[in-house]
């Protein structure tokens, strides 16, 4: 039964593929996101750029606010809990959230253990910088993976780094001879079975999205061309001059991510993009949380 649930949860991520998941903080924003073509929304009190600006401890959102968003839209609703905070996850499961993001964007509640996600019926998505992190989260029960990127910066460099790292490690595992996989599992600190899966299928055992710093249609298409199966956009939309237009353009860019002519059209007249911060200018690297 447990495995069946995990299978159904991985299946939901398959349905999200080729789509854009948008951060929203109010029912109104959720409706804008849905109308712009979001395949799911992430309900949170403050978008990452504001979490970064506000500082302090950042926690799971008010369930009432999340329920307001669940009522406002017909597409799947996700919400974040802190790394290791299994009670926040229990609460999100109790309000029948469609996906929980055990997220480094919030302050970690546990600096050693992630949540045992196999103990839950609702699916989890987790961030990863490389193949080892991704497979460790999958081993803990994650049904979907996303790059960590560097949330709230509007700077795509870290998402690119993480996606490239994951893809190159997948290619490396894929080209190994079978007797080398045991050592690979040891070095990655993950179970052999998961390494074998990557070797045989040349992909992760779950859907893999890009996240962290995506701000433009070109950023989204870049992540898709690098191998992402879909894209999370956080601060990039509602921190920009024209959220509706930018959101719709990013959705279309993800569907036709190799058509440069169309991408050129989509990139026109989007108004101001979020200002963004370079990675050298930030104090706090969220991507370093939870390995």
């Amino acid at each position: 039964m447990e495995n069946k649930r995990l299978e159904l949860n991985k299946n939901l991520a398959q349905m999200l593929k080729g789509g854009v998941i948008m951060d929203v903080t109010t029912p109104e924003q959720a409706k804008i996101a849905e109308a712009a073509g979001a395949c799911a929304v992430m309900a949170l009190e403050r978008i990452p750029a504001d979490i970064r600006a506000a500082g302090g401890v950042s926690r799971m959102s008010d369930p009432k606010m999340i329920k307001g968003i669940q009522e406002a839209v017909s597409i799947p609703v996700m919400a974040k809990c802190r790394i290791g905070h299994f009670v926040e996850a229990q609460i999100l499961q109790a309000i029948e959230i469609d996906y929980i993001d055990e997220s480094e964007v919030l302050s970690p509640a546990d600096d050693k253990y992630h949540i045992d996600k196999t103990a839950f019926d609702v699916p989890f998505v987790c961030g990863a910088k490389d193949l080892g992190e991704a497979l460790r989260r999958i081993n803990e029960g994650a049904a979907m993976i996303r790059t960590k990127g560097e949330p709230g910066t509007g700077d795509v460099v870290q998402a690119v780094r993480h996606m490239r790292m994951m893809q190159s490690e997948i290619r490396r595992i894929g080209s190994m001879s079978e007797d080398e996989l045991f050592d690979a599992a040891k070095l990655l600190q993950v179970p052999y079975d998961l390494v074998l899966y990557v070797h045989e299928h040349k992909k992760l055992p779950v859907v893999n999205f890009a996240a962290g710093g995506v701000a433009t249609p070109a950023d989204a298409a870049l992540m898709m061309q690098l191998g992402a199966e879909g894209v999370f956009v956080g601060s990039g939309i509602f921190k920009s001059g024209n959220p509706e237009k930018r959101a719709a353009a990013i959705v279309k860019a993800v569907t036709n991510f190799t058509d440069a002519k169309l991408l050129a059209e989509l990139s026109e007249d989007l108004g101001e993009a979020m200002v963004g911060i370079n990675e050298q200018e930030i104090q706090l690297l969220m991507a370093e949380r939870g390995k």
Binding site: N9, N11, Q14, M15, G18, I75, Q93, K252
Partner: protein, 192 residues
Amino acid sequence: MQIAVLALQGAFIEHEHMLSALGVDSFEIRQLRDIQRPFDGLIIPGGESTVQGKLLRELGLFEPIRQAISAGLPVFGTCAGLLLLAKEIANDSRVHLATMDIRAVRNAYGHQLGSFDTQAAFAGIGEIPMTFIRAPYIGSVWADTQVLAEVDGKIVAARQGNQLATAFHPELTRDLRVHEYFVHMVEQHAKA
């Protein structure tokens, strides 16, 4: 034979894998120029119907696809694909291609916790595995639409002439028989 798979958003690759396992060629439709190629059948995959419906309209695919289906093109919609084909949706003011005489109920089993899999009889095939992900079901059918499968008294598969719709996802299982059924529909249409 060439079967086109609508690849705007969702689980389209899974359908391509099923077709390839049956030895049938397929290609993806992502924009208008893709439908200039000849094809004998169309699959509309699972995903989000709101996203696919919007992109169909904005990419100029809506009218040509609707007309092709009305003119007899064999089409197979799963989950969101079923919603795109439905003439009526009980709990959504917006309908999409609206070519099939069915009344669908969207997110009929609730949130993800309501997703499930089961086995049930499919007319002309027998018992098959069925995976429901935030699925719709069909509340009612009319005209010459035939019911092909029911689960717990709810209609989960139907056919009307050239149109086949399932609320579940055969492409998420290893059972090729529903795809085989559709390929047979395409063959019959090509002969006629």
